[in-house]
């Protein structure tokens, strides 16, 4: 990535943060008058400049189909799992033992690991209690998880979250690693045309075609 492109991307990211902050500001004031927007810009700029945080590294791509799919899947799961956990609390038999399992993630991006952890924490029945950041392993505690079948269910759920998130906003490298992992698990790889390997292959083919001509 060239220096200019990097600078442009960081500018885009800063503008994105500021936009989010301004929207929160407008929502707090309950109006979108000129004064509120101007003061919002000032406050957002001050916050972004004064409270410097390590930058969130976006991959620079969004797939709206998978993003929508992720949000719908997430809402459906929260609904179903809430009812399930509520039933566990009131049924006569007490809950079984839980389990802590290590789930290998394909991504190394801090943002995606955070999002996977948070989504996992929002869906009832699973909770990440420890993260090995260097190896991208999350340790998920599953509620009422006392046989291998239940265990695999929680593991599959975590993988499902990760898959949707990577296809929605992950980097091409993440997609490639994920597709390899999916092949190993016997699932179909998706978005193959975005991966680095595929792009390199296409570039090579184009070059050969040009050489032949």
């Amino acid at each position: 990535m060239g220096a200019r492109r990097r600078r442009r991307q960081s500018l885009v990211e800063q503008v994105l943060y500021m936009l989010v902050l301004i929207i929160v500001w407008i929502f707090l004031w309950d109006s979108a008058s000129g004064m509120v927007i101007v003061s919002g810009v000032v406050v957002a700029f001050t916050v972004v400049r004064a409270f410097y945080l390590p930058p969130i590294q976006l991959a620079g791509r969004v797939n709206f189909y998978y993003a929508t799919l992720f949000i719908l899947w997430f809402m459906l799961n929260v609904l179903l799992a809430s009812v399930e956990v509520a039933w566990l609390t009131v049924r006569r038999r007490p809950v079984d033992a839980g389990s802590v399992m290590a789930v290998d993630l394909s991504t190394r991006s801090d943002l995606l690991i955070t999002l996977v952890t948070m989504t996992n924490g929002l869906i009832p029945g699973s909770l990440v209690i420890e993260i090995d950041r260097a190896r991208a392993v999350v340790f998920v505690h599953g509620l009422n998880c006392a046989d291998d079948e239940e265990l695999e269910k929680v593991r599959a759920k975590t993988h499902q979250i990760e898959t949707l998130l990577i296809y929605a906003i992950g980097s091409p490298h993440d997609i490639e690693v994920l597709n390899d992992a999916r092949r190993e698990r016997g699932q179909k790889p998706r978005l193959e045309n975005l991966t680095i390997r595929e792009r390199a292959r296409r570039a090579r083919l184009a070059k050969e075609a040009r050489a032949r001509r």
Partner: protein, 158 residues
């Protein structure tokens, strides 16, 4: 009329979910299971109450504030649950009998073994350097108890 019914259903559902959260925090047997009960049904209940109130008020002002409430709840609740669960695990406030399988314990044991091996290798190298002073019993670290600090090893990477 229909809006009233929908709001009522949502508020009743939210109340039931919050009740379940309360009962769960009482009835569940260990810390990690309780974390499930106390954070999530409650959050979903809150979202439902907000939705019902929004249906009743239908003014932009309160609705936008409720958006912010839900937004920040979505971001903070899982972090809080994660931190409490993590602290509970690290300080060993957990009932082993309530864990069917614990792969984190295996990982911690592996990290600990790696650390001990590393330390022993370093000590051996030091001993080789000054072979004259062959001190007895260089204190093999394998007898040491694992402390909570050992967990730190795994996430110091990068």
């Amino acid at each position: 009329m229909i809006l009233d019914i929908v709001s009522t259903v949502f508020i009743a559902g939210a109340a039931l979910l919050s009740l379940a959260a309360g009962i769960g925090s009482l009835r569940f047997p260990d810390l990690l299971s309780r974390m499930h009960a106390s954070s999530k049904p409650q959050l979903f209940g809150l979202v439902m109450v907000m939705f019902a109130v929004g249906l009743q008020i239908r003014h932009w002002g309160p609705v936008s504030t409720m958006f912010i409430i839900v937004f920040f709840q979505l971001f903070t609740v899982p972090v809080a649950a994660h931190m409490i669960g993590r602290a509970g695990y690290r300080t060993k406030h957990l009932r082993r009998s309530m864990l069917y399988r614990d792969e984190l314990d295996d990982a911690v044991a592996r990290a600990h073994a790696r650390e001990v091996a590393e330390r022993e290798r370093r000590e051996l190298a030091e001993k080789d350097r000054d072979t004259d002073s062959a001190g007895p019993a260089s204190g093999s670290a394998s007898g040491e108890d694992r402390t909570a600090n050992d967990h730190d090893e795994s996430d110091t990477g990068r």
